[in-house]
């Protein structure tokens, strides 16, 4: 056991930093640094740069075109990207459907879909939740009926993140309504341009549009787009969810967030002194920083055991729980630091990128919307209640 990086790892770190500095577009970096919302093109430019380098799918094994990073390299890569204000990699292609395809897909599917994911030429989104199927995902009712070489899909998906930007969607659909809930589900890839698909925005509490409802009205999908066997989609679904939970802890982003919070606390005044000198507030930051460190080392332990051969187990649910709580606490403390200047609501500045000047400092108007928006982290990717249910059952045997 050793916490120090080897000379090779050190060299790798330098290499990553040099790459990010050279390839992350300055305007994108600026948006991330100032907490502004990114457009599709912002993500694409960065992801395509990573794609060319072969690093976009940094979690993939070599044989599927990944760089085959060691856990230490993954750790270094994620942390440096966060430190350098790179946008988070959109997970739907690289971390979700990609691994499902190379694990459960056939050769034709691998040949067709993996390259565009690796290079970020195609934008994917996820079709899991439905209005009546949230925590109870297996109760989903979107139907796919076989009709010759096609499935005819009818139903609706919700909480679909960035579907308005997507080229493809991967969906869980019901192919056998008579079987037990988990047993009649299939995993289907659907081209978003297929006739019959409608995307309707859902407006969030902070006024933003990032999620959608997606409606399927007699959508014709080739049977060749079925991944794995018909009615065995639940296996893919579970595999994907466990993968999702690992990255969802967002440790590097939270570490960066703590530093940004300290900057704000240095800039804000409290009785004529920087807020960071207020003991109560400084202790709150310290407490959060310790939580982040605890999470980071837990994640490292999990990664390390995975490196010795192993899929992420149900204990990663614990990472998701703590990671999401930390993200929320970070936004809560940021809002506390900003104080009453969190109150002005400036949707133009927030969403449309207008030239409206902020009220107070640049970071102030983002504080409350982020706090409101981040409430989602304990809900999405399987709510924290569901995660605790998983640990209770799968880890503790209760």
């Amino acid at each position: 056991m050793d916490l120090a990086f080897t000379p090779e790892e050190q060299k790798f770190a330098d290499q990553v930093r040099a790459f990010v500095k050279a390839n992350l577009p300055a305007d994108v970096r600026d948006k991330v640094k100032n907490g502004k919302h990114l457009g599709r093109d912002d993500y694409m430019r960065w992801q395509q740069a990573l794609g060319k380098k072969g690093w976009l799918v940094y979690t993939w094994p070599k044989k599927h075109g990944g760089p085959g990073f060691t856990p230490a390299q993954r750790y270094i890569f994620e942390n440096i990207c966060a430190e350098e204000y790179a946008p988070g990699i959109i997970p739907f292609g690289t971390k979700m459907v990609g691994p499902v395809i190379y694990t459960f897909g056939n050769e034709e599917q691998k040949a067709k879909y993996l390259d565009p994911i690796r290079l970020s030429t195609v934008w994917w989104c996820q079709g899991y939740s439905e209005p009546g199927s949230g925590s109870d995902l297996a109760s989903l009712r979107t139907k796919a009926e076989k009709d010759g070489d096609h499935y005819i899909v009818n139903g609706s998906k919700t909480w679909n993140t960035m579907g308005h930007w997507a080229d493809w969607i991967f969906c869980l659909v019901r192919t056998d309504p008579k079987a037990k809930p988990q047993e009649g589900i299939s995993f289907l890839l659907i081209d978003m341009k297929t006739p019959g698909i409608t995307v309707k925005p859902i407006i969030m509490a902070d006024g933003g549009h990032e999620v959608n409802e997606v409606f399927f009205d007699n959508v014709k999908v080739p049977v060749a787009n079925l991944v794995g066997k018909e009615n065995e989609g639940w296996t893919c679904a579970k595999f994907l969810l466990a993968n999702e939970r690992l990255g969802i802890a967002a440790v590097p982003q939270s570490k960066r967030g703590v530093e940004a919070l300290k900057d704000i606390a240095r800039a804000e005044q409290d009785n004529g002194r920087p807020l960071i000198e207020n003991k109560s507030f400084a202790e709150k930051i310290a407490d959060l920083e310790i939580q982040v460190t605890a999470l980071e080392y837990t994640e490292l332990r999990v990664l390390s055991s995975m490196a010795h051969g192993g899929q992420p187990g149900p204990e990663v649910s614990g990472l998701k729980i703590r990671g999401s709580e930390i993200q929320q606490r970070l936004t809560e403390l940021t809002m506390e630091a900003v104080g009453e200047y969190s109150a002005p609501y400036l949707p133009g500045l927030l969403w449309q990128g207008t030239n409206e000047a902020p009220v107070g400092p640049e970071y102030a108007h983002l504080a409350a919307p982020r706090y409101f928006n981040t409430r989602k982290t304990t809900i999405y990717g399987g709510s924290n209640e569901i995660q605790k249910g998983i640990i209770s059952k799968m880890v503790l045997g209760l």
Binding site: A343, A368, E385
Partner: protein, 380 residues
């Protein structure tokens, strides 16, 4: 010791409940929030007609002789409906400060018309650097003949755009953050040299940044005594805090009721999610938090007229700590138990959550008031 409402107070409660039911259905509120003013003159006229604008003022001042309990009753219902009319800045803050510290002429010119619904107020105390220190004021008022000239900046002034008069806390003497040397001025909302940047707030109220560029006012614009404004504004803010706490208890009742209803009807795994013990216990904790918030608000409402300013300050800060804590717990829990629906704009729950969040930040958050209470308790 008696904790029951009188018959008149019960009637007032029913009246306020009826107003919220009739005028503040969720969609109706959304429409009011989208108007330019952000509130409805016809509702304000109704408040005047019902006597709410004068209920907490003495008969001598043209009011109806009520007090903090009446304010509590109405504010609680306003919280249930997320009412947008500027009752707090106009009646509780502006009206209250004028009634307690204004001259006879000021009361006649301002308070009487306010009670009739013809004048509105705003309090401008906060500056960019102030955080929650009421004495951290750098806007300067300098002598100019018989009167004064005001220059500087004020921030997040609620209701400034609609206010006929703005009560401005200015430094007339002393150094930065010194409580002595602060003076309150009543400034015409359309005064020359006063410019505004108006904006909505996270919770759909209206506020403004104000810039004062040599705004001239007469000697009669001083509210209370020159250099002695701090005690007036501190007391005014403490009373506003207590009223705000009552609004928050109403918000908590409403958000808890909505959540309870949701977990009884939303089904997952074949049963209403309220059948799961984790959610049941969290719902119970919400209920308990709201109870405690109500208790502390009641305590503060009963003590805010105490003669001893330390008793008043401890009551206000104590209640504000509880409201901050309970409001956050109920708000966050409600969103969590609503799942994805809780973070959408579509349901009322996110709107209550936003209001509860902003209430915590207003006039000092939970941490600020805990520190203040702790210092007062140790000094005792």
């Amino acid at each position: 010791m008696d904790l029951s409402l009188s018959d008149e107070q019960k009637q007032l409660q029913e009246q306020a409940e009826r107003f919220v039911r009739d005028k503040y259905a969720f969609d109706a509120r959304r429409k009011i929030a989208a108007t330019e003013r952000g509130w409805l003159p016809e509702n304000w006229a109704q408040f005047a007609e019902l006597g709410w604008l004068g209920m907490s003022f003495s008969e001598e001042d043209g009011g109806y002789g009520g007090g903090p309990i009446e304010t509590m009753i109405v504010m609680e219902q306003f919280g249930k409906g997320l009412v947008l009319e500027p009752f707090l800045p106009t009646v509780v803050l502006g009206g209250g400060m004028i009634a307690r510290s204004g001259s006879k002429a000021q009361k006649e010119a301002l308070l009487a018309p306010m009670i009739e619904g013809k004048k509105q107020f705003a309090l401008a105390w906060l500056e960019r650097q102030s955080r929650y220190n009421l004495a951290d004021v750098s806007l300067k008022a300098t002598k100019e003949g018989a009167g004064w000239s005001l220059s500087g900046h004020k921030g997040v002034v609620y209701n400034a755009a609609s206010a006929d008069h703005i009560i401005v806390l200015a430094r007339t003497a002393g150094s930065a953050r010194e409580p002595k040397g602060l003076t309150l001025f009543i400034v015409d909302g359309k005064a020359k040299g006063l410019s505004r940047r108006d904006y909505p707030t996270q919770d759909a109220l209206r506020a403004s940044e104000l810039t004062f560029d040599k705004v001239s006012v007469g000697a009669d614009a001083v509210l209370g005594k020159v250099d002695e404004g701090f005690a007036v504004v501190e007391d005014g803010v403490d009373r506003a805090i207590v009223a705000l706490c009552a609004e928050a208890t109403g918000c908590m009742d409403a958000i808890n009721a909505a959540t309870l209803e949701y977990i009884k009807t939303r089904k997952q795994f074949g049963v209403p999610i309220g059948k799961f013990q984790v959610l049941q216990h969290r719902m119970v904790d919400c209920f308990t938090n709201a109870q405690e918030a109500r208790s502390m608000t009641l305590m503060a409402s009963l003590k805010i007229d105490d003669k001893d300013p330390v008793v008043r300050a401890k009551a206000a800060s104590g209640a504000k700590v509880q409201i901050g804590k309970s409001g956050k717990f109920c708000g966050q829990s409600a969103v969590q138990m609503h799942g994805g629906m809780g973070v959408t704009d579509e349901l009322s729950v996110s709107h209550y959550f936003k209001r509860l969040t902003m209430i915590d930040l207003m006039f000092g958050n939970q941490q600020h008031h805990l520190t203040r209470y702790s210092n007062l308790a140790m000094a005792a």
